[in-house]
C-alpha cells in the first residue's frame, strides 16, 4: 500500500531499525545515534528509500574526556527539515567509515574533521590535512590541545580587568611569536614533505594517446591576478587541457572555530562578520537563528522585517560583486566591476548609517537587532528598491547578457548536472543552475519569508552562463522582496527582552541555516550551559561548493578554469574560516 510521506516528516528510524539505531535523549539534543558499523548501510537506505539525498554538513565534536562524535545533517531535495545522525566513537581510537562512496560531497568535510580533530575516515580516497599543512603537530580543535598564546579556557581573561597591565602577547614566548614546538626539536633535522602528497594524488588515468607526451603540473595560486583570494589549485595539464585538478587551501585559516569556543556567545557575533566578508549581514542572521533556537527566543515583528530587508540588500550587494568579478575573470578588466561596485557603494552607505560599519556590520543580536533604523533610512531604502536598483540591474543585464564574447566563453563551459550537484552537496546558485529548485527560503522557511511573494529562478544547463543569469534574476527577486517588506514594515520594538552582555543559553545543540548569497550557510552550536559554546562549527557554502570544482573542470582549458572558479563565487574567509 502506498503511503504518502510529507517532506517535513522525519521517519522514526529507531522503530524501523530497533537494535541498531537509538534516539538521542540528552536534554536539548535531537537526532539518531547510529553505531559506526551500521553507518554505510543506514546512509544508503535513507538516501535511496527515504529521499534524504542532500548531505549538508559533517561536524566532528570532541566531548572531552568521554568520546568523540561525528554529526551528520541530511535533507531531502524536495524540502523539509533536517535529519540528524550521530556516530559516537572513543577519543583515542576515532575511526569512522567514510561516506565518500555514497555522498561525494563528504570529501572535504571529512578531511577537515581529520585535520582538526584527528578522526580517521576509512576508505576515504585522499585523507590528508586540508586546512593546516602536512607535518603540523597535533590536532588543534581537541579540547586538550592548547595554543601558544593560551591564557584561559574562556573569555573574559582576568589579565584584562582587574589586573590590567597591558603587554604584547609576544613577550610570553622566547620566539616573540605565536609558535610552540615539541620538546627537543632541532630545526636543522626537519625535512618538509607536504607537497609530494598533493602532486602524487593527481592521476593521469583516462588519457591514452598515440603521441607519448609529458604532462605538466602547474600551480594556479595562491597569489594570482583573479581577485578571489589566496586559493591554490594544482592542475595536471595535457597541453592546455586539464587532466586532473586538486584545490589546496588553508592559506587564510584563521582559527574561527577554536576562537569561537573561547568567546562567549555574544562575542562571537563580530567574528561571524568576517566569515563571508562580502555579505556580513547574512552571517549574523544565520548565527542569530542558531542561538535563538537554543534560547527559545523569537524577535519582534519590526525586527524580523528589518532582518529580511538587510539580508536581501546583502544578497543584491554580493551578487553585484560576484557578477563584476566574474567578468574580471573573463578578461573584461574592470568596467563591469566598476559599474557593479558603484551600486554596491550605495547599499554600503545604508549599512553604514544603520549599523556603523560598511562591511563588518555586527547588527543582529539574540532577540532582534541592535538599534532601529535611523531617520532618513527607510526613505533611502525605498528609493533604492523602487527607483534605482531595478533600473541598474536591468542595465547590467543589457550590458552583459547578449554580449557575444560572454556567451561564447560561458555557454557550455563548466557543466554540472543536477544529480552530480546533489551528490556533491552543492547549494545556492550552483544547485539551481543545474535544475534543482532548492532554496531554503522556500524549502525550509525561516524568519518571515513565507509572507513574501517571490520566485526562485531555476535553469537547466548547469554552465557558467546559467549561473550568471540566475544571479541577475535573484537580484530582481530580492528587489521584489525589499519592496514588499519596506511597504509592510510595522512600528514597534526591535529587541525582545533586555539588552544584556551575559547571555544565558541553556544546554543543547542547534543548527541554524539561511540561504546566504553563496549557498547554504549553517551554524552548528553545542552549548553545555556555560557562557561560551562547547562546539561551534560553521557549515560554509563556498568550502563545500568547491568539492564540485574538479568535476566541472575536467577536460576544460586553463583559461576556463579561472572563469569556472569565478562562477562558483567563493570567498576565502568562508572556505578557510
Amino acid at each position: 500500500m502506498e503511503e504518502h510521506t510529507l517532506v517535513s516528516h522525519v521517519p522514526e528510524f529507531d522503530a524501523l531499525f530497533p537494535e541498531k539505531v537509538k534516539l538521542d535523549t540528552r536534554p536539548g539534543f535531537s537526532g539518531f545515534i547510529v553505531p559506526s558499523e551500521f553507518l554505510l548501510e543506514f546512509s544508503k537506505e535513507i538516501r535511496d528509500s527515504w529521499g534524504y539525498d542532500i548531505l549538508s554538513s559533517i561536524t566532528g565534536v570532541d566531548y572531552f574526556p568521554e568520546s568523540m562524535e561525528v554529526v551528520y545533517h541530511l535533507y531531502r531535495s524536495l524540502g523539509g527539515g533536517a535529519l540528524v545522525v550521530k556516530v559516537q566513537i572513543p577519543r583515542d581510537d576515532a575511526i569512522v567509515p567514510s561516506l565518500f562512496s555514497i555522498f561525494a560531497g563528504a570529501e572535504f568535510q571529512e578531511r577537515e574533521a581529520w585535520d582538526l580533530l584527528g578522526i580517521k575516515f576509512e576508505h576515504h580516497p585522499d585523507l590528508r590535512r586540508i586546512l593546516m599543512w602536512e607535518g603540523y603537530e597535533g590536532f588543534p580543535l581537541r579540547k586538550d590541545w592548547k595554543e601558544a598564546y593560551y591564557e584561559e579556557d574562556a573569555k573574559p581573561f582576568a589579565s584584562r580587568w582587574p589586573e590590567g597591565v597591558a603587554e604584547h602577547s609576544e613577550k610570553k614566548n622566547i620566539f616573540g611569536d605565536n609558535v610552540k614546538f615539541p620538546d627537543n626539536f632541532d630545526p636543522e633535522d626537519w625535512v618538509a614533505s607536504g607537497e609530494e602528497a598533493l602532486y602524487l594524488g593527481l592521476n593521469k588515468s583516462g588519457k591514452s594517446k598515440d603521441l607519448d607526451t609529458e604532462m605538466l603540473i602547474i600551480n594556479l595560486g595562491p597569489q594570482h591576478p583573479s581577485t578571489h583570494g589566496v586559493f591554490r589549485m594544482a592542475a595536471l595539464l595535457d597541453g592546455e587541457s586539464i587532466v586532473d585538478l586538486k584545490p589546496a587551501f588553508g592559506y587564510l585559516h584563521r582559527n574561527h572555530e577554536k576562537i569561537g569556543e573561547r568567546n562567549t556567545f555574544l562575542q562571537n557575533m563580530p567574528f561571524t562578520d568576517r566569515l563571508d566578508y562580502i555579505s556580513s549581514m547574512s552571517n549574523n542572521f544565520s548565527y542569530a537563528l542558531a542561538v535563538e533556537k537554543l534560547m527559545g527566543v523569537k524577535p519582534p515583528e519590526r525586527a524580523e522585517y528589518i532582518r529580511v530587508i538587510m539580508a536581501e540588500l546583502t544578497r543584491i550587494a554580493s551578487h553585484f560583486m560576484s557578477t563584476g568579478f566574474l567578468l574580471n575573470d573573463l578578461g573584461a578588466f574592470f568596467t563591469p566591476a566598476l559599474y557593479a561596485l558603484k551600486e554596491r557603494e550605495l547599499i554600503l552607505d545604508v549599512f553604514e548609517a544603520v549599523s556603523g560599519s560598511r562591511m563588518m556590520c555586527n547588527y543582529f543580536r539574540f532577540g532582534g537587532v541592535v538599534r532601529d533604523l535611523p531617520s532618513g533610512i527607510p526613505e533611502a531604502i525605498r528609493n533604492l528598491a523602487f527607483k534605482r536598483l531595478p533600473a541598474k540591474v536591468d542595465e547590467l543585464d543589457h550590458l552583459l547578457t547578449d554580449n557575444e564574447i560572454v556567451r561564447s566563453r560561458c555557454m557550455g563551459i563548466g557543466v554540472l548536472t543536477g544529480e552530480e550537484a546533489i551528490n556533491l552537496s552543492a547549494t545556492g546558485p550552483i544547485l539551481r543552475a543545474s535544475g534543482v529548485p532548492y532554496d531554503i527560503r522556500r524549502a525550509d522557511p525561516y524568519s518571515i519569508y513565507d509572507r513574501f511573494e517571490f520566485n526562485i529562478p531555476v535553469l537547466y544547463h548547469g554552465d557558467i552562463y546559467d549561473r550568471y543569469l540566475i544571479r541577475i534574476e535573484e537580484m530582481r527577486q530580492s528587489v521584489r522582496i525589499i519592496q514588499q517588506a519596506i511597504t509592510q514594515i510595522p512600528e514597534g520594538p526591535i529587541f525582545e527582552g533586555r539588552s544584556q552582555y551575559q547571555v544565558k543559553v541553556p544546554a543543547g545543540e542547534a543548527y541554524g541555516r539561511v540561504e546566504a548569497p553563496k549557498g547554504e550557510l549553517g551554524f552548528y552550536v553545542v552549548s553545555n550551559g556555560q557562557p561560551n559554546p562547547w562546539r561551534y562549527h560553521v557549515r560554509a557554502p563556498s568550502f563545500i561548493n568547491l568539492t564540485s570544482l574538479r568535476t566541472m573542470c575536467l577536460n576544460q582549458k586553463v583559461a576556463d578554469v579561472v572563469a569556472i572558479l569565478g562562477s562558483i563565487d567563493i570567498v576565502l574567509g568562508e572556505v578557510d574560516r
Partner: protein, 219 residues
Amino acid sequence: MNPEKNKLNINIPPELENQVAITTLDKIYNWSRASSLWPMMFGLACCAIEMIITAASRVDFSRFGMEVMRPSPRQADVMIVSGTVTKKMVPQIVRLFNQMGEPKYVLAMGACASGGGPFKEGYNVVSGIDKFLPVDVYIPGCPPTPQALLHGLIILQKKIEKEKLSDAEWYKKDFYEEIPVPILGPDLIDPRKYHLFKKILQSADEVTVEESDAKGEEA
C-alpha cells in the same frame, strides 16, 4: 661633488656644503617615485575588498598614480599586505617580497597585518607581518575604510619624499638583502631564530646533565 660648481652667493655652513646641490635632484627623484607607486595585487582577506574598492570609482587611487595594480612582484613597488597573515601563507609572502625590485615598500593595512588583529590568539595566525618584513606604514582599523587607506598611502608618499639619494642602500656596493624564507615544520620555523632553538636545546641538555650529576652523587 665639485664645490666649484656650487657658486651661490649665500653662506652655506660647511656641514651642508656637500648636500645642497643634491636637494633638487632628491626632490625630483622622490617626487617621481612617490607619484607612480604601483601596488601589487595582493589581497589576503577582508581588507582586500576595501583595497579593491579604493581602486574602484568612488575613491580612486589612480588619481595618485597608483593606477596599475600588477600581480607580478617584479613590476610592483608597494606591497599592500591586506588581511590576516597566516603561517601557511608566510613563506609565499616572503618569497614575493624577495622578488620585488628595489626600491620597494610594504604597507600593513588593517589590524591583522599590523599586529595580528582580532585573530591574534589563533594557532595559525602570525602576529603581524612586521615579524618577517620591514613595514613602512601601518594603518589600523578593521577594515580601514577606503579613505583611511588613502590617508595611509599619502603618509607613505610623504615618507618617500623625505628620503635622500645619498642614503639609498640599493645603490651601494655589496647590497644583497634577502629575507630567508620560513619553513613549515611542526609549527612555523623562522630561519633567523635558529640560535633560539639552540639555546633551548642547550638548556634542556644542562638540566639532564645536572640530573645525572645528582644521581652520580647519590650512588
